[in-house]
Structures are given as structure tokens and as C-alpha cells.
């Protein structure tokens, strides 16, 4: 983990309530897809943990949903504004677990951390199939971006306004040898009943510190107590107690 001041290069709306922010600064502490950053926001006490969508040597891409006061303030920030950010938090996705074909399943704002994962898996020569779940057509984002990486992309919408009608599980009857997922808990439970292989889930929890000190986000696993912020947010299917 490192702390630094980052400059906002862009902050744009991708879909209703969904924003994409690119910040510039040291990214050396990011070592794997699925990690997150923790952002200090003036006037609010706790930092805001936001998953990392993508990163390069000098930039971090964050895609976030406006759900409360903190993300509302973030959405109004302008290019050139600076942010105090803790970078390189959490234990992300382990790409070595996939043999040949990975299935990535994202629901809504759970989709962003799968982007860098997809990029890294394809970089390792793996086949990647992606299922992106939304409520309706107007909420869709990043379908083309995943396609441009070379992934086979399936989009589901609950109301059937685009792609496959229904939930992400309606698109999971395809071949894969390992899965990775991020999204809401009800989606996880449906995936748990549908998935045919081992896999990894990326969890969300209200956090105090985000770096393992306060025990605010602990959960029980088959291998003992874990902190979502430090030992997670990614946990393996085999260890999760539902």
C-alpha cells in the first residue's frame, strides 16, 4: 500500500449513475487485478473504497456508481482536481488458477474490476468469456471495451431490452474451466447454485480503514476469519461460508 496525491485526468458519466474517473500518479503498489483504492474526500471522515478497473504505469481507471454522499461528491470533481488516495489495497484475483478458459461474470458496478482481470488473462494466452448483467439496456457500459480486449461477451438484461433476457445465470451454460465474479450478493448466490467449476468471488463490505487494521469488515471462512479489505476482497469458492 502507498499513499499519494493523484490528479484527476478525466471524470465522465458512462451510464446513469455510473462514472469513469482516470487519476494520474504512482501505481507501483498495484500488483494484481481486483485490488482497490481508498479515497479521502474533503468533508467526509472515512475514505471511500473504490475498485480498480484498470491501471498502467502512470494512471488508474476507476469506475464507480453514485450511491451516497461520497460518490456524489466524486462525480462532481473536475479534471485537474487532486485526491489523497491509498493505493494497492486488498488481495485481488489470482489469474494462475485458470487453465484454459475463464468465465468472468459481472453484475452492474461489479463489472469494472473484471476489466483488468480480462486483460491480464488474455495477456497470458487464456480464452476469456464474459457475462455482463444489467437491469436494462440504458445501464449497459463496457460491452465494447471487453470485446476489444478479445473476449467473447454475453450481455444479459433483466427486462430483456438488450441481449439475453434474465440474469447472468441465464448465460452461464457455456464451457469454462474456472470463473471469476464480482457483483451483488443475490447474484453470487445464484452463481453459487449454477457454476460448475472452482472460482473466485470479489466481495463488498463497509470498511473502516481498508488496510487490515480495524477488523471492521471481517467474515468467517472455512479457513478462519478473514478481513474483506486485506485478505479479500477476493475469496475462493471453496472457502466461502454462504
Amino acid at each position: 500500500m502507498t499513499q499519494g496525491i493523484y490528479e484527476i485526468k478525466s471524470n465522465i458519466c458512462l451510464a446513469p449513475s455510473i462514472f469513469k474517473m482516470i487519476i494520474e500518479g504512482d501505481t507501483g503498489a498495484l500488483t494484481m487485478p481486483g485490488q482497490f483504492v481508498n479515497i479521502k474526500i474533503d468533508g467526509l471522515y472515512l475514505r471511500r473504497p473504490i475498485s480498480v478497473c484498470d491501471y498502467s504505469d502512470t494512471e488508474i481507471t476507476l469506475i464507480y456508481k453514485v450511491v451516497g454522499e461520497g460518490t456524489e461528491i466524486m462525480s462532481q470533481m473536475r479534471d485537474g482536481d487532486t485526491l489523497d488516495v491509498l493505493v494497492g489495497l486488498g488481495n485481488g484475483f489470482d489469474i494462475s488458477k485458470c487453465q484454459n478458459t475463464a468465465l468472468l461474470i459481472g453484475g452492474g458496478v461489479g463489472i469494472p474490476p473484471l476489466y483488468k482481470l480480462c486483460k491480464d488473462l488474455i495477456g497470458e494466452g487464456k480464452n476469456v468469456k464474459v457475462v455482463l448483467g444489467f437491469n436494462t439496456k440504458s445501464e449497459i457500459f463496457y460491452e465494447d471495451e471487453f470485446k476489444h480486449l478479445g473476449a467473447e461477451v454475453f450481455v444479459t438484461t433483466v427486462d430483456g431490452s438488450y441481449g439475453i433476457k434474465g440474469f447472468v445465470t441465464n448465460a452461464m451454460d457455456i464451457d469454462y474451466d474456472y470463473f471469476y465474479t464480482c457483483g451483488p450478493l443475490p447474484m453470487f448466490k445464484a452463481i453459487e447454485n449454477t457454476a460448475k467449476t472452482s472460482g473466485q468471488y470479489s466481495f463488498e463490505e463497509r470498511m473502516g480503514c481498508g488496510f487490515g487494521a480495524c477488523m471492521g469488515c471481517s467474515c468467517k471462512t472455512k479457513y478462519g476469519n478473514k478481513r474483506i479489505c486485506k485478505d479479500g476482497p477476493v475469496l475462493e469458492r471453496e472457502e466461502i461460508i454462504w
Binding site: 500500500m1 471522515y45 475514505r47 463497509r206 470498511m207 473502516g208 480503514c209 480495524c214
Partner: protein
């Protein structure tokens, strides 16, 4: 050249800055960030007789200028603290450490302190009789002078190390509890633990914390802490460790003027992982600004005249 040293019950510490229990684990998360030997000492994660998972999540909620937590004393239990945590701690921290201990019965406190007493690195005990997050547990002890006295006596029987009793602010008169601890042999008082609080989520129309209530900490509580430290300083002769919303070197000086010999930093560590380092590095500048040469000279200074 200013002097930041203070004497804490016969052990001199290089500065009065002490990360508060529950915000600093057993030190390693922070030792990855900076050399934690620059701290006066630190109070390690509240340790109980048996391992505890703590409360359900959500355990954290935000407030204006602060936060609520209802962790509920998650810890591996005293045996594992001794066999696993303290050996790891020794590698990153060479100074005497403060052992924070909690319990659910007088015998629990005595058991845990007795087990820890033989650990050479432990310099002081900080006995938490004030955790607001445990049903029928710690809070009951901290809110009754009689129980505070019983716990103090029981712990003093099993150790010769200095014993600080950590008090709850959720009482009618904190000075009565402090006096009872002093009369029972306590070597010092730590105050204040968190204030009992609540937040409600307007979307779900339910309390945010799974435990419904939690401990309120952060800068918002500093005036309450200062008032109680000031009152207890007048009521007892033993040294005080002050805490409650401390985030800057100025806050440290304010706590000491109210009567604190040393000062703990809690919630600030969670939002600013370098908080204690920054405070320690800034302290000489702030001392010079306010014409303070020797930090220990200002303890209780607000009471003079």
C-alpha cells in the same frame, strides 16, 4: 531542542503518542508503512480469555467528523496472542508495549492478565472495562464503581506491572468510577472509550450497524473527552492517558493541558495510516509555536490559576 519525553508509571517513553487499542492491530500493518519504534508505545488489540469473532457486519458507519464501530472485540484469544501475535510483534517493535485486556467476568480479566504478565515485552496493562459493543459484557463493568473496583483489585493481584483502567464515558459521573479504580490500586486511568451511538439508513429505515449501536469516535468527540479528562485529573492523583478524537499535534497538547500524561490516537489511524508518524514529527514544531520546551511541564496546565 524541545523535550517530548514523559514518564508513564516509571517507564519513560520518548513521546506521549500511543496508538489506541483496536485501531492498530498488533502493529504489523503499520510496520509495513513506517518504523513504529518511533511511537511512545502502542496499545495492542483488545485481548480476551477466549477467541472472539465479534459482531456481524456491517460493523462500521460514518458520522459527521467521526465514525461508529461495533467490531465487538474480535481477537484470537490470549493463548494465540501469546503464541502467535507477540512473537511477530517483537520483530517489528522493540519497546515495551501496552497490553489491552477485556473480559466478561472479573475472573476473565484476572486470567488474561495473569497469562500475559510473564511476557517480557508488556510494559503496562490497559484494562478495558468499557467496550460498548458487547452485550452484557464490558460496559456493565465500566458503568459501576463497585465493578470497576473489583476488576482493578483482581488484576492488581496477578501482576506487578502498571495497570491502567480504561473507562467508559457512558456514565453519569466518570470521576466516581475513576476514584474507585484509584482506591482499588490502579496505577493510571485511560479515558475515554467510545460514546455509544447509532446511525439509521434512510433507504432501509433500519440501523446501519448489524449490532444496531456502536462506539462513536473521531474528532467530534474531542470536547467530551477533554471535559472528562479535566474532571478526572481533579479527582485522582494517578496519571491519565487521554484519548478521544486526537488527530493532530495540537490535539495532543490540548489533551495534556487538560491533564493527560500520554495521549492515544484511535480513529485517526484508520483514515490516515501515517497519523501517529505525522503527529510525532509535527510535535516539536507545535511545541515551539506555543513556547513549550518540556512537554511534561504542561500536564494539567489548564488547571493552574
Amino acid at each position: 531542542m524541545v523535550n517530548t519525553k514523559v514518564d508513564l508509571c516509571g517507564i519513560e517513553i520518548s513521546n506521549p503518542i500511543i496508538p489506541a487499542s483496536g485501531t492498530f492491530g498488533f502493529g504489523y500493518e503499520f510496520a509495513d508503512l513506517y518504523d513504529i519504534n518511533m511511537l511512545g508505545t502502542f496499545s495492542f488489540k483488545g485481548t480476551t480469555k477466549d477467541a472472539r469473532f465479534g459482531n456481524d457486519t456491517p460493523r462500521i458507519a460514518e458520522t459527521p467528523c467521526g465514525m461508529l464501530n461495533s467490531v465487538g472485540l474480535q481477537n484470537p484469544g490470549v493463548e494465540k496472542v501469546i503464541s502467535e501475535e507477540l512473537p511477530k510483534l517483537k520483530k517489528v517493535f522493540t519497546k515495551p508495549v501496552m497490553a489491552n485486556v477485556s473480559g466478561f467476568a472479573v475472573e476473565d480479566y484476572a486470567y488474561t492478565c495473569e497469562k500475559l504478565d510473564s511476557e517480557a515485552q508488556i510494559g503496562w496493562f490497559e484494562v478495558n472495562i468499557s467496550c460498548p459493543n458487547v452485550h452484557g459484557g464490558g460496559l456493565a463493568f465500566g458503568t459501576s464503581a463497585k465493578n470497576a473496583e473489583l476488576v482493578t483489585k483482581a488484576v492488581k493481584k496477578v501482576t506487578n506491572k502498571p495497570v491502567f483502567i480504561k473507562l467508559s464515558p457512558n456514565v453519569t459521573d466518570i470521576t466516581e468510577i475513576a476514584k474507585a479504580c484509584e482506591a482499588a490500586g490502579a496505577d493510571g486511568i485511560s479515558l475515554i472509550n467510545t460514546l455509544l451511538g447509532m446511525r439509521i439508513d434512510l433507504k432501509t429505515k433500519k440501523p446501519i450497524l448489524a449490532n444496531k449501536m456502536g462506539g462513536f469516535s473521531g474528532p467530534a468527540i474531542k470536547p467530551v473527552a477533554l471535559r472528562m479528562i479535566y474532571q478526572v485529573y481533579d479527582a485522582v492523583k494517578i496519571p491519565l492517558i487521554g484519548m478521544g478524537g486526537v488527530s493532530t499535534a495540537e490535539d495532543v497538547i490540548e489533551m495534556m493541558l487538560a491533564g493527560a500524561t500520554a495521549v492515544q490516537v484511535g480513529a485517526a489511524n484508520l483514515v490516515e495510516p501515517y497519523a501517529c508518524k505525522n503527529i510525532i514529527e509535527d510535535l516539536p514544531r507545535v511545541m515551539e509555536k506555543y513556547n513549550i520546551n518540556n512537554l511534561k511541564d504542561i500536564i494539567g496546565g489548564a488547571h493552574n490559576g
